[in-house]
């Protein structure tokens, strides 16, 4: 009956390479790209604090996500993005009930203030701001089967991308402010007693590094992502996890995006990642698939995923 959370809240870490808040791809002015996303994530081992263990009373904990994502080009330098996931969790063993529901709406503004030729390639700099908030009154305090943590967040990210020919590297750093949450019980114990239903949620930071091949038809990249909770406490021995645990995870994965030659508005996206290090989280493996359709892609607009030719 011991449980552990899995990183459904790092939505963008799943979402890979398709015009997301964490890649260097921008939509042209007035173009709108949208599509559904499905991901499946599961783990049998987790980190109780820093101790890796399994739990026969959970078996394999799985999370399915059905998301809708979109990206609108306000200008070629300013894009607006959203994602809205429906999440379903399940434990293969034990008696704990599965959970499902609409999770958090994520909204981002992605701004590219700088783009110049540097050396043989092109350097782009980005600033990304995001907010997220729950779309339903889902339960946060039922980890690891909760579908999310309920915390309203505001995030700020700086990102740099360098592309030379068909090869690119992108790096970003994010700070996530997390608001306190309310839970259904009237007290809880962390490393001390709290006689309140309000839980102080520590902020978090995230680093993302991706590199690979990118042209107007194909993107293939390797991604390393690190999520670090700046505070919080460790799950004690054989205890339940709690939303304000110090949850850290480092994942490595790949993403592939392919634009269908016959229908250039349509692209298919797939990828996966695996958790290589963590704390108070499941050692999850995730695969996902998606397709995106670009609306308003006129003769004057195009995806800017390939290097400018000057």
């Amino acid at each position: 009956m011991k449980k552990i959370f899995l990183p459904v809240f790092i939505f963008s870490a799943f979402a890979g390479s398709a015009q997301t808040d964490i890649d260097a791809i921008m939509m042209e002015k007035n173009a709108f790209c949208t599509g559904p996303l499905y991901s499946y994530s599961s783990w049998t081992n987790y980190w109780e604090g820093t101790l890796k263990r399994d739990n026969q009373n959970l078996g394999k904990v799985s999370t399915q996500m059905f998301g809708l994502m979109g990206n609108y080009g306000l200008t070629r330098k300013v894009n607006l993005l959203f994602s809205a996931p429906y999440v379903k969790t399940k434990a293969s063993a034990g008696t704990l009930h599965s959970m499902n529901g609409m999770q958090d709406l994520n909204l981002f503004v992605k701004w590219r203030p700088y783009q110049k030729r540097v050396g043989a390639g092109r350097l782009s700099l980005f600033g990304i701001a995001g907010i997220s908030f729950p779309l339903s009154n889902y339960v946060a305090d039922f980890l690891p089967l909760s579908i999310g943590l309920r915390s309203k967040t505001a995030s700020a990210r700086i990102m740099a991308d360098y592309q030379q020919g068909n090869l690119f590297v992108t790096g970003s750093a994010t700070y996530v402010l997390r608001d306190n949450i309310k839970i259904d019980r009237t007290s809880y114990y962390t490393t001390e007693m709290h006689y309140t239903n309000e839980v102080e949620m520590p902020d978090a930071s995230s680093f993302n590094f991706r590199a690979g091949f990118r042209n107007h038809r194909l993107i293939a990249e390797a991604v390393v992502n690190n999520w670090t909770t700046l505070g919080g406490f460790d799950i004690t021995r054989n205890n339940m996890p709690f939303p304000s645990n110090r949850m850290n995870a480092t994942t490595v994965g790949i993403n592939i995006k392919y634009v269908i030659p016959a229908i250039p508005q349509l692209s298919i996206v797939t990828g996966g990642n695996s958790t290589v290090a963590g704390r108070n989280m499941g050692q999850s493996t995730t695969v996902y698939g998606s397709f995106f359709y670009v609306l308003g892609l006129g003769s004057k607009t195009k995806l800017t995923g390939k290097p400018a030719k000057k």
Partner: protein
């Protein structure tokens, strides 16, 4: 173009500002409780009926030194030295402790229960280790403060505090030593003044009794407990409420009275409650002999049942024969139509649980890592007692009544559980998934319901205007186990009833203890 660049900057800046301006500091519900200033100091409480003491003077308290003596004046000067240079932290501890000694020690006890309410992790061979009181810091740490353990801990601490305060009130009236601020009008007083005699200090009595009792119950947390004891007494000095000799006499009295409860606790059969494999097997065999399906652990690997012989523990409110007489009749037979119907009802509740039902389940779950259902009822009571402005001795008396009822409810409930050894709904239908962790003991009768029935009954007597509200809370706590997939309706309804019967014994005591 410029304008467009400005948009994201504004959005970013304003969202960041919004969050930064939010204060993340979380305030506890009793953090700002005002200083206790009872409307009635219960001057005659020295005549109230104690629980274990033969009389209020069973443990002697020496006469205090005269307030004109140089030694006393030196003790007044000690207070003045503290007060000359008060730090923010010192003001904070005065504020914290002045809310009430029984309140704060009850909260500390709830904290230790929460900290220790963790089932041990299994051994490599699938067996489970048991905590050892002789080696409390080795894994698994002692104690595993599960609901029966916790109920007993709350009861002993509250009862010891009550008896110690009855004795304290006796000596207060006997010696009638004025408070330091009455002796020396130039003293600052950081708490409401009291007309009560200050020797022995009621705060030190409560702290001493709690610390001594908790030494037995939480032997691995001595440093923490002693630090709280020291802080509590320091707060009283800083506040100008007591001189050191008030505190020393109070602590000694509290500890002496608690020793009597420690002796009782060592012989109350709780130490044998974990039982052994032969007895667990016997319970299984007995259930089979009755033609029933015996309970088995739904944990993997199968965990030994929780404290099977807790039902044999010596109750506070009645003797062992009465405890057995409070055991209800059997649950519906596992093979009966009624049991099939009740199992189906549980399944229907958890098939697609509503958010409101999930809220109720989690509100009352009080499972692993929490202060348990008895602790939840203490929390409910504490907040209402704050509003009632009870004197320390009445606080202790009411907490003792509540917690003796909770412990005795636990005894009757556990006796019933292991007498019938009835399976959980999930055992009869594995499709029944639960909205909270499933407890590792038989179903009939529901512990939450029994605890809640007892608590609501005695609290309704103590605060009659809230009797209907307490009854509604108990019903909600009870039904939370049904809609959470943990219990059948029979477990809950009979549990509530049995709890009420136990609670009535607490009322009988309340009527006769001289406090009403």
């Amino acid at each position: 173009m410029k304008k467009i660049i400005i948009i994201p900057v504004i959005i970013t800046a304003s969202t960041l500002l919004f969050f930064i301006s939010c204060n993340k500091q979380v305030e506890g519900r009793t953090d700002n409780t005002p200083a206790l200033n009872p409307a009635n100091v219960d001057l005659n409480a020295g005549t109230w009926k104690p629980i274990l003491l033969t009389g209020p003077a069973e443990f002697p308290v020496p006469a205090p030194i005269a307030t004109t003596s140089p030694d006393y004046i030196a003790q007044i000067n000690e207070i003045k030295t503290w007060q000359a240079d008060l730090t923010g932290e010192e003001k904070q501890i005065v504020k914290y402790w002045s809310a009430g000694a029984v309140l704060r020690w009850n909260e500390i006890l709830r904290e230790l229960v929460s900290k220790h309410n963790l089932p041990p992790f299994q051994n490599a061979d699938g067996s489970y280790p048991f905590p050892s009181a002789n080696n409390p810091l080795a894994y698994p740490q002692f104690p595993f403060a599960n609901p029966p353990y916790a109920a007993r801990a709350y009861a002993y601490v509250a009862a010891a505090q009550y008896d110690a305060l009855v004795a304290a009130w006796h000596y207060k009236n006997l010696y009638n030593r004025p408070a330091p601020y009455t002796v020396d009008a130039t003293l600052q007083v950081l708490i409401p003044k009291s007309t009560l005699s200050s020797y022995p200090s009621e705060d030190a009595v409560v702290a001493g009794a709690a610390a001594e009792m908790m030494k037995l119950l939480f032997p691995g947390d001595q440093d923490y407990i002693n630090q709280k004891l020291e802080e509590h007494e320091r707060a009283r000095l800083i506040a100008g409420a007591n001189v050191r000799s008030d505190l020393e006499a109070g602590e000694a009295l509290g500890k002496a009275v608690a020793q009597k409860f420690v002796t009782r606790a060592r012989g109350d059969r709780a130490g044998a409650a974990a039982s052994n494999q032969a007895q667990w097997t016997q319970m299984e065999t007995d259930a089979l002999a009755r033609g029933e399906t015996p309970w088995y652990s739904l944990e993997l690997p199968k965990r030994p049942p929780m404290l099977p012989l807790f039902g044999k523990v010596k109750a506070f409110l009645f003797d062992s024969l009465t405890a057995i007489s409070l055991r209800p009749g059997p649950p519906p037979s596992v093979s009966s139509q009624q049991m099939r119907t009740e199992t189906e009802e549980v399944y229907n509740y958890i098939k697609n649980p509503t958010r409101e039902n999930t809220r109720i389940v989690h509100y009352w779950a009080d499972g692993v890592g929490t202060y348990t259902p008895p602790g939840h009822w203490d929390a409910i009571a504490a907040e209402d007692f704050i509003a009632k402005n009870f004197s320390e001795v009445r606080w202790a008396r009411n907490m003792a009544l509540l917690n003796m009822a909770l412990m005795d409810a636990g005894i009757v409930c556990w006796d019933t559980k292991y007498f019938y050894f009835n399976p959980r709904p999930t055992q009869l239908n594995p499709a029944i998934k639960t909205l909270t962790g499933i407890p590792n003991f038989p179903a009939y009768i529901s512990g939450h319901s029994t605890f809640s029935g007892a608590a609501a009954t005695i609290l309704g007597h103590i605060i009659p205007e809230k009797a209907t509200a307490y009854d509604a809370m108990a019903r909600e706590a009870s039904v939370s186990r049904l809609v959470g997939g943990i219990h059948y309706r029979s477990d809950c309804e009979v549990g509530l009833l049995v709890g009420k019967n136990v609670g009535n014994y607490a009322i009988l005591r309340a009527i006769a203890d001289g406090a009403e």
